[in-house]
């Protein structure tokens, strides 16, 4: 009795191993993201965006069945990402790589995807030079410069010509400061002071007090989304900075939709610049949000992560349709260049030269709407390219 059962089990395992080979007409997509640790939300948002698109397309990409292979990096982990990418390419024989929430992870896999000619779509990593690190990388998210620069221009247009900057002391903070300062001073504005705060900074009172004593007209700040913006805003409110006549501006990370409920009223009236708002008033976004809430409930709000994941799938789908199902690296990259899509965030395009995204950047104001804190779009700058690449 024992032997046949054992044999049956063996043959089952054999069949399971053979199954991927049988489904060789499927498009295999390797997704490298964070599913554990403090940034596990990123992976959940990605998954939701991917699932939403695949639901709409009937599980197909370019007419072929899509198969998503998810891998966890547990946060910024370039070494792990590289090993995972290698595994996905060599063992799982993926035709696309995607995900990539952290810039170091995206940089780490660039040499691999170049060598293996695997088209790679970045869903979040926002360091400017990622797309220049491999001809097989395209991006559907944003760059920090791309959203910081329009804020500076908007402030100047609205008569604010002096500003103090506060950024977190890491690569993206430097990017934000650089892009803001460049656009602001080029337009005739003056930076009256700037400060960099350490990444692990529990108490912002000293920095805010410093700003209060410097009495600038306006402050522009950039912090990664998460714990830092609410902590800063709490102190800002406590010190009565608005009453002291100091206006506050930031990039959209400060009022990330995923954290808006947590941030709450301290963000009231905060002006930010970003490419996606949950509140974006378009039919496409209304449907996206409704589908999202139907599928995943209202506890998690779709953020720019979910939108970028959705768009990455759309871009793969469109590119494969253009190539007639040919998933070869060069063919797909050619199809991706200049690709235009209607995203929940508005119209987007993959730049034909840089493979980076071109999109509308919105100026938004945090407001309470139907019992929810949202970013209401009040102005926009269309077709914004990555300023860091434009200046080269």
């Amino acid at each position: 009795m024992k032997a046949p059962r054992f044999l049956a089990a063996l043959s089952l395992i054999g069949m399971a191993c053979a199954a991927p080979a049988l489904a060789n007409d499927a498009v295999r997509v390797g997704m490298i993201a964070t599913y554990s640790g403090p940034y596990a939300d990123y992976g959940r948002q990605f998954d939701a965006g991917v699932a939403l698109y695949l639901k709409e397309s009937g599980g197909l990409l370019g007419g072929r069945k899509a198969e998503i292979i998810r891998k966890d990096t547990g946060g910024p982990a370039p070494d792990a990402s590289k090993r995972i990418a290698q595994e996905l390419i060599v063992r799982d024989k993926v035709q696309f790589l995607t995900g990539l929430d952290f810039s170091p992870n995206a940089y780490a896999i660039a040499p691999l995807v170049t060598q293996a000619k695997i088209p790679t779509l970045v869903m979040n990593a926002s360091s400017s030079a990622i797309t220049t690190s491999s001809p097989y990388i395209a991006r559907v998210s944003f760059t920090v410069q791309q959203v910081s620069d329009p804020m500076a221009r908007w402030m100047l247009r609205n008569g604010i010509n002096e500003a103090y900057t506060v950024v977190a002391d890491y690569a993206s903070g430097t990017d934000a400061h650089g892009a803001f300062e460049k656009a602001f001073t080029a337009g005739g504005g003056r930076i009256v002071g700037s400060v960099r705060t350490p990444m692990n900074n529990p108490d912002f009172s000293a920095y805010v007090q410093r700003i209060k004593d410097a009495k600038p007209k306006a402050v522009f700040f950039f912090f990664p989304s998460g714990v830092m913006p609410p902590a800063f805003l709490k102190v800002w409110k406590e010190r009565g900075m608005a009453e002291a006549g100091i206006q506050l501006f930031a990039t959209g990370e400060a009022t990330d939709d995923s954290y808006m409920d947590v941030t709450g009223d301290v963000a009231k009236d905060l002006m930010t610049s970003h490419h996606y708002s949950y509140d974006h008033a378009s039919a496409k976004n209304r449907k996206f949000v409704a589908d999202f809430e139907k599928e995943f409930g209202t506890k998690m709000r779709p953020s720019y992560f979910a939108v970028a994941a959705y768009d990455a799938m759309a871009a793969m789908d469109q590119a494969l349709k253009k190539t007639g199902g040919n998933a070869g690296g060069d063919a797909v990259m050619a199809a991706l260049k200049g690709l235009q899509l209607e995203s929940p965030r508005g119209p987007i395009e993959i730049d034909a030269q840089t493979r980076d995204i071109v999109q509308t950047v919105y100026i938004r104001k945090a407001e309470l709407k139907n019992g929810k804190w949202v970013n209401v779009e009040i102005d926009k700058v269309e077709r914004v390219k990555d300023p860091a690449k434009e200046s080269k």
């Binding site: 554990s36 640790g37 403090p38 940034y39 596990a40 939300d41 400060v195 960099r196 705060t197 350490p198 692990n200 900074n201 529990p202 108490d203 009172s205 000293a206 920095y207 007090q209 410093r210 998460g226 714990v227 609410p230 902590a231 709490k234 409110k237 406590e238 010190r239 009565g240 995923s258 954290y259 409920d261 947590v262 709450g264 009223d265």
Partner: protein, 285 residues
């Protein structure tokens, strides 16, 4: 100048409130308890959940945070800590850092990886005029809490029978046991008290630090600095150390923002070089 000093003191009080429990477990009981932040987190979550899900107001939630952290501490003392009182410090380090990771994973599982929402009650928001300065009400509340806790602990340890027994048991367990002091039960009570204070500190920190599952690792260094610089095993030591660390940190960030965040480490190194056993070692209690 004044406001910077006040902010520093308030921040120091918060550090003191979270770290004082560690001074009790680490210093009095000689147990290297790196999981201290996990008890603070347990208290913080208890308060946040009671407020967000069950609509409690802030002050009852504070009491709850103490109770919950103390209960969790008591349970873990019975199950785990008790076995390791007399083992090598390395075993204690390994157990407690293991507990930190277990707590991070379980809080992520039950509450998700993101922050807990929290709003201060209206009574504690905004500023109030004090000695010619506009000081934050919440910060003032932290200062009051710190002084109350300090006073309470000093009375408890120096003026009560319980305190006398704890001091005796810590100085010489064998003799204490010989004179009929129930050392085991005493340590249990002390540990529970330390954890409860951690929980209270965690809940009080809600208005300043964000509460998420990585809390115990993120702020571990700060708790350890306060206890090391202050001198483990006393209550006054960590109090003084927390105040000095808070003021150095805030003043450093205000006057020298380029070097600001680094100054507390310089301060720690210099203090420990000059006074290797801390500012106020145990004899000074």
């Amino acid at each position: 100048m004044g406001i910077v000093l006040f902010d520093g003191v308030a921040y120091g009080m918060l550090l003191f409130l979270i770290a004082v429990g560690l001074s009790i477990t680490l210093g009095l009981m000689n147990f290297v308890n790196l999981a201290h932040g996990a008890f603070a987190m347990a208290g913080g979550y208890a308060a946040a959940v009671a407020m967000n899900r069950y609509g409690w107001s802030f002050f009852p939630a504070l009491a709850l945070s103490f109770v919950v952290a103390a209960l969790v501490g008591g349970l873990l003392e019975l199950l785990l800590y008790r076995r390791l009182y007399r083992s090598h410090p390395l075993d204690q380090v390994l157990l407690s850092i293991g507990l930190v990771f277990v707590s991070i994973a379980s809080f992520t599982y039950f509450f998700g990886p993101s922050m807990q929402p929290f709003t201060l009650p209206p009574l504690l928001t905004g500023q109030v005029a004090l000695a010619g300065m506009e000081v934050g009400r919440y910060r003032l509340f932290l200062v009051v809490c710190g002084v109350v806790v300090l006073g309470g602990l000093l009375l408890l340890l120096n003026k009560t029978r319980f305190g006398a027994m704890v001091r005796a048991a810590v100085d010489n367990q064998r003799v204490a046991r010989g004179t009929g002091i129930p050392v085991q039960r005493l340590f249990f009570a002390t540990f529970v008290l330390g954890c409860g204070l951690a929980g209270l500190g965690g809940a009080l920190s809600l208005g300043m630090l964000g509460l998420e599952p990585t809390f115990p690792l993120k702020y571990l260094v700060l708790f350890l600095i306060v206890v090391c610089v202050g001198g483990a095993g006393t209550v006054v030591g960590p109090f003084v150390a927390a105040l000095v660390v808070g003021v150095v940190d805030v003043a450093g960030k205000y006057y020298l923002p380029e070097a600001g965040a680094f100054l507390i480490y310089v301060f720690m190194v210099v203090t420990l070089l000059l006074r290797p056993h801390g500012l106020i070692p145990r004899k000074g209690l």
